[in-house]
């Protein structure tokens, strides 16, 4: 057996700084959050956390407001990803064509993605204003909105902010899908054509399978981002009307900063992290099983 030399440890030394940074930046706060969730810390009652075991988790189980926010968060997350793909994939297919229009549009496609949330939120608020909003006029004509802005309707507001969230993420899907489309060898299409495949069949049996891996990874990333959303909803609706757009990100914020309960906020975060972890693992396992 060969004795280990200094050289054998060299790669680990090179990795060490990155590992330390990862632990400090990502792992340590998660551990701290979990430890905090096992404490009772309501700032008005106690200036320091005191051990409470699983009390916060027991409270969470019967917290109706949390479970409603949890359900809304799933609607919001899945809705956001569906909108992103429903608009993003057709756009990517269009931009994949070698036309002047596609080249011109490519330059603008990143606009929603790079525009700050505050600008997006106020822009959409203006579009949905019941007096001045262009989009409100269209929604009114289509009987999807009444005299008031759709943001005043609890269900309408949730659907609309979810759509806007998806709209903002479309460029990410377009760019990723475009890259995946460009990487499909032309020979595959040629072979399919020789085998008698029509356009639809080529799309179904060549394009879609080639996009699947990218779609799963991108969908997972965008889903995770959507799951912890806060900015857009907060600016547009503050969780209203009547809590209809209060998603978990807003619950965490309010629990910490308004209710002054850091440990309960940490409990919600820990549960969300666990749920997200399980959902992500299941998605990836499902993907591997299909492959």
């Amino acid at each position: 057996m060969r004795a280990l030399s200094k050289l054998d440890f060299y790669p680990y030394w090179l990795l060490l700084p990155a590992v330390i940074v990862a632990i400090l930046v990502a792992i340590a706060p998660l551990i701290y959050g979990f430890v905090l969730s096992l404490h009772d810390w309501y700032l008005l009652r106690s200036p320091v956390p005191t051990w409470a075991g699983l009390a916060n988790y027991r409270e969470l189980l019967t917290d109706e407001d949390f479970w409603l926010a949890f359900a809304r968060t799933w609607f919001w997350t899945l809705g956001t990803v569906v909108v992103e793909f429903a608009i993003g994939i057709p756009l990517a297919l269009l931009l994949n064509r070698d036309t002047a229009v596609a080249k011109a549009v490519s330059a603008f496609i990143l606009m929603p993605w790079v525009t700050p949330f505050i600008v997006v939120a106020y822009g959409w608020r203006f579009l949905l204003d019941s007096e001045l909003g262009l989009l409100h006029g269209l929604l009114e004509t289509a009987s999807l909105a009444g005299d008031r802005s759709i943001l005043a309707d609890p269900l309408g507001a949730l659907v609309m902010v979810t759509f806007i969230s998806g709209w903002k993420g479309v460029p990410f899907v377009v760019i990723a899908m475009l890259a995946a489309l460009k990487s499909i060898p032309a020979e595959l299409y040629e072979a399919a054509e020789i085998d008698g495949a029509g356009r639809r069949q080529r799309f179904r049996f060549v394009t879609l399978p080639a996009l699947r891996n990218t779609a799963v990874v991108i969908g997972l990333i965008l889903g995770i981002l959507a799951f912890y959303s806060f900015d857009l909803v907060w600016i547009m609706t503050r969780g209203g009307p009547v809590d209809s757009t209060t998603i978990v990100g807003i619950s965490i914020y309010q629990t910490f900063f308004a209710d002054l309960r850091p440990s309960y906020a940490a409990t919600i975060s820990s549960v969300m992290l666990a749920v997200l972890l399980v959902a992500a693992l299941l998605t990836l396992r499902l993907r591997r099983a299909e492959a």
Binding site: S149, D153, D243, A258
Partner: protein, 423 residues
């Protein structure tokens, strides 16, 4: 030898630094308006000239972020020595044990200048800042709301421009007439989850005799008086005298709308008068300001304000207290600060003189005699900051949007408030 001497001189220079070290006072100031910042910089320069051993470092923390910054600093460290604070959350931070009392500094300052500092603070502020027999904040500014109305629109609607609405019911009736007969909405009445909504509505519920807390210290809003007030306030929305999106619009959009001529009336702070002048609105000379309307139990104005507080974590408490008193007392920088930033000073004696004894401030100063906190007539409670965020606003919004009846919204509201009180 020379080397030794040089080393000794260097060491002496290094170790002599602490003797010359200044006290540094970190001060969080919440306004982002240029006029305010300039006024504060001048006050700091003045203070530092008088106190060469103290440095005041001003950090701008916008009002919209102050709660997050303070709570974060409270839980993880990094509190300033001195900060501004909303008057309604002084009790909250005092209950947490995060503030240091100012009583001894008030006494010393009063002795030096020959007057009673506490007696010079507005009576309404006393309930906010004097808790458990100690003073925890020094009033910087007070604020109340008055009714701004457009005489030209009153006239156009066939109303007497010299007879502003005397009661809340009169106001809504006048607003209906104006909305019907002119292009403007009668009243900029917010119904959304926004501080402005509660700041408007509290005058209505207090004037109907409703109380936030009952004798047992529980929610006292489950009463006929509150239900009547809620129904009356929301009737403005149902009658269409405010913007159709009033239940979802942020408060600042109502202010903007009044400045743009979209509304005939608004209940608001003194600052909007300065905005009308600065923007040169063509109807500015048609705007009159009067006290807020009355309800069956009288007139009750909103009592806002912001003091400076000394954080208990400060390691330079004496220097920090000296800065607080310089900024909040008439013999210090308070007059200049107030004039330059357009606010009403937290000192009663100062507010009795110019320019606050003349239009438009005189209306607000008079209104302050009838200005009260949300929980009037009870003392400040530590949970007020939590309740102010959205409990009452949610009830208003739910009724306005037809998502709950007045009764349902009131029951739910009291459940929410009692839950906060029971934690």
């Amino acid at each position: 030898m020379l080397k030794r001497l040089t080393l000794a001189a260097t060491a002496a220079a290094i170790f002599s630094v602490p003797a010359l070290a200044k006290d540094t006072v970190v001060f969080w100031q919440f306004s982002t308006r240029d006029a305010y910042i300039d006024a504060w910089e001048a006050a700091i320069a003045d203070f530092e000239a008088e106190n060469p051993d103290i440095d005041v470092v001003m950090e701008i923390v916008p009002w919209s972020e102050q709660q997050q910054r303070l709570v974060s600093a409270l839980t993880t460290g990094g509190l300033p020595d001195v900060s501004m604070l909303g008057n309604n959350v002084v009790a909250q931070f005092q209950a947490i044990g995060a503030l240091a009392p100012l009583t001894q500094y008030f006494a010393a300052h009063g002795e030096k200048h020959g007057y009673d500092v506490a007696a010079d603070i507005w009576p309404g502020d006393r309930g906010y800042y004097e808790l458990g027999g100690e003073w925890w904040a020094s009033a910087l500014a007070v604020e109340t709301r008055a009714l701004y109305y457009r005489k030209d629109l009153f006239e156009a609607a066939g109303l007497d421009p010299e007879s502003p609405p005397a009661t809340w019911s009169d106001l809504i009736e006048a607003a209906k007439t104006i909305t019907e007969k002119t292009d403007a909405y009668g009243w900029a009445a917010p119904m959304s989850i926004d501080y402005l909504t509660l700041q408007n509505f509290m005058s209505v519920y207090l004037s109907h005799g409703a109380r936030l807390l009952n004798e047992a210290g529980q929610c006292g809003l489950d009463s006929d008086a509150f239900r009547q007030a809620l129904a009356l306030f929301v009737s403005a929305f149902e009658a269409g005298v405010t913007h159709p999106d009033a239940a979802t619009k942020p408060g600042n959009e109502f202010r903007r709308g009044f400045l743009d001529g979209e509304y005939a009336m608004i209940v608001d702070q003194p600052g909007i008068y300065a905005d009308l002048q600065n923007e040169g609105a063509d109807f500015a000379d048609q705007v009159a300001i009067v006290q807020v309307p009355a309800g069956p139990e009288g007139t009750f104005g909103f009592l806002g304000g912001w003091p400076l507080v000394l954080w208990d974590a400060s390691e330079s408490k004496d220097a920090a207290a000296a800065w607080i008193l310089h900024a909040t007392r008439p013999e210090g920088a308070l007059k200049e600060l107030s004039i330059n930033s357009g606010m009403i000073p937290g000192s009663r004696s100062l507010a009795a003189g110019e320019p606050w004894n003349a239009s438009p401030f005189d209306v607000f100063v008079a209104q302050l005699q009838n200005a009260y906190p949300y929980q009037h007539p009870d003392e400040a409670i530590a949970q007020m900051g939590q309740m102010e965020v959205d409990t009452i606003q949610k009830a208003i919004q739910a009724v306005a949007l037809g998502e709950a009846t007045v009764d349902e919204a009131t029951v739910r509201l009291c459940e929410d408030i009692n839950e906060v009180l029971a934690r």
